[in-house]
Amino acid sequence: MSTVKESSPDPELAGTGAYTWTGKSRQWFLRHLPPEKLLPEDQPSYVASWAYVFGMGAVAGLIFIIGSGVVLSLNGPQWYHVSSLGHFTNSVHLWSVELFFMFMVVHLWIKFWMAAWRGGRLLTWITGMLAFLVSIVTAFTGYLLQTNFDSQWIAFEAKDALNAVGIGAWFNVANLGQIFMWHIMLLPLAVGAVVALHVVLVRAHGVVPPLDAAATDAQLRDSTAGAQDPEVKPS
């Protein structure tokens, strides 16, 4: 059986190959996120501040959280009580979480003071906030999985807040099976998806320029004269 391609009824799409859902999606992605935006080799000259390292630091922290978390979950939640390697892996998991949150919170506040939502970057801000909030819930379920005194007490204390808002039966902090499922599957999927979307949006929209930046600013002018920074080059 052969198929015959007919030309698109939409003249704008004629000759582009984009007459299927797949083709139209490809066009959309290429328009919004061309390869040179997704994997750039340069950035606007104002992207030169210590403030930019914290987002990448949080991503690096997340990589260590996922790596150590996979090792811990493959061995089961009680392995780290009886194995020195397990205990060290647990420590790596804990400290990468602490660093992840530290980097993420600093990143969040820096982006707040940059008003980084400007110029169509609303969804970047919202996905960043979502990443922070979902990470808080994920970390909380991790504390409940410690299977030690701390997790027992957190379960006893935290049940009141969850019961008070009516979700205690489905998010039962004393039910290890439920919490294990939340912590190693549903919530990591949510964090991973939101962080991935956030990073893609950052690439698609680019880094927000400084407040009150103007195209006439010397640092921004498309000129080779007066460049002090050897890394800065004309676009």
Partner: protein
């Protein structure tokens, strides 16, 4: 050179924040930065793990509770029998105790969720575990044959007598009308001491069980478990939500959540939990939707921390 103040709106418009960048650029290597980030953070993580490790204080068992604080165990078992324990009077999702749930005005999600994890403290924590023993205790039959009023009276009498006894010691309780309660509580203490109660209460008759709700609620109804938490600075009034055992940092990002529990009107409200959770939800929503709020979203302009962040840019232009 005229500077036009940039809009603080999130909308795309004819401004420098919305247009594709056409100014000067600098070299940037995304993968190199990622690699450096992973190496630096990896070294930090491994270093912190090697130096500070992670805490792992062993959990409390009913056996360890019965051995360390038998009087507290007996008093708690009596309260479970008499329906005067924290769990017995909790309300949903464990039971339907009237007026026990928290609410915001007429909005009562705790009540709406219903009794989903039904727990009858007298039967689930005391009588049913005792029934699993090979030798049936006559006191169990006496208890089950009595009316609810009679059961409550016996348990209340014994609770009062335990509270009046030196150190709450069951051996020094004055004589009174306690029915089978002292025998039941004493037998349960024996079961706990032998370690049997941990298994029986936790597995609920099933070979597999991952649900620790009965054990944790029973432990929390006593004084021993909370006293251990207080000694480890983990209770709510000690900002325990953001603490860990030992000196390791805990969930420090929950500082604001924890703060609300320390201040009025939350601190002394019977609806503290739902009030704090609602407040946190509203604040989180506010920060998420911050770009939509005119006036408030101009805060970053009024407090010019961005001048520090882009110090080089502002210095060179």
């Amino acid at each position: 050179m005229t500077k036009v103040p940039s809009t603080m709106s999130w909308r795309t418009g004819d401004n420098i924040a919305s247009r594709p960048w056409r100014g000067r650029v600098r070299d940037y290597d995304l993968f190199k930065e990622l690699t450096i980030g992973v190496v630096v953070v990896g070294l930090l993580v491994l270093g912190l793990s090697a130096i500070f490790s992670s805490p792992d204080d062993p959990g409390v068992t009913l056996k360890s509770w019965a051995a360390a604080a038998p009087a507290d165990f007996v008093a708690t078992a009596t309260a479970e029998l008499g329906g005067s324990s924290g769990t017995a009077g909790y309300g949903p999702p464990y039971n339907s105790t009237p007026d026990a749930s928290q609410h915001l005005g007429f909005f009562n999600p705790q009540e709406l969720s219903g009794v989903r994890l039904a727990i009858d403290t007298a039967n689930d924590f005391v009588i049913n575990p005792l029934k699993t023993q090979s030798t049936q205790l006559p006191a169990v039959a006496v208890w089950t044959a009595a009316t609810a009023d009679q059961q409550a009276k016996w348990a209340a009498n014994y609770s009062a007598a335990l509270a009046a006894a030196p150190d709450g010691d069951p051996a020094q309780v004055a004589k009174g009308s306690y029915g089978p309660v002292p025998a039941l509580a004493g037998a349960l203490l024996g079961m706990a001491r032998s370690g049997n109660l941990d298994g029986v209460l936790q597995n609920s008759g099933q070979p597999y069980n991952l649900n620790y709700t009965p054990t944790i609620l029973f432990l929390g109804d006593g004084s021993y478990f909370p006293s251990l938490a207080a000694a480890a600075h983990l209770t709510g009034d000690q900002w325990g939500v953001m603490n860990e055992t030992g000196n390791t940092p805990g969930q420090s990002w929950l500082w604001l959540f924890s703060l609300f529990y320390q201040i009025e009107p939350f601190k002394s409200s019977p609806n503290a939990d739902i009030l704090v959770v609602s407040t946190m939800l509203v604040l989180s929503l506010l920060l998420t939707l911050f770009p939509f709020i005119p006036g408030l979203r101009s805060l970053p302009r009024k407090i010019p921390i961005h001048r520090l962040i882009w110090k080089d840019y502002y210095g060179q232009r």
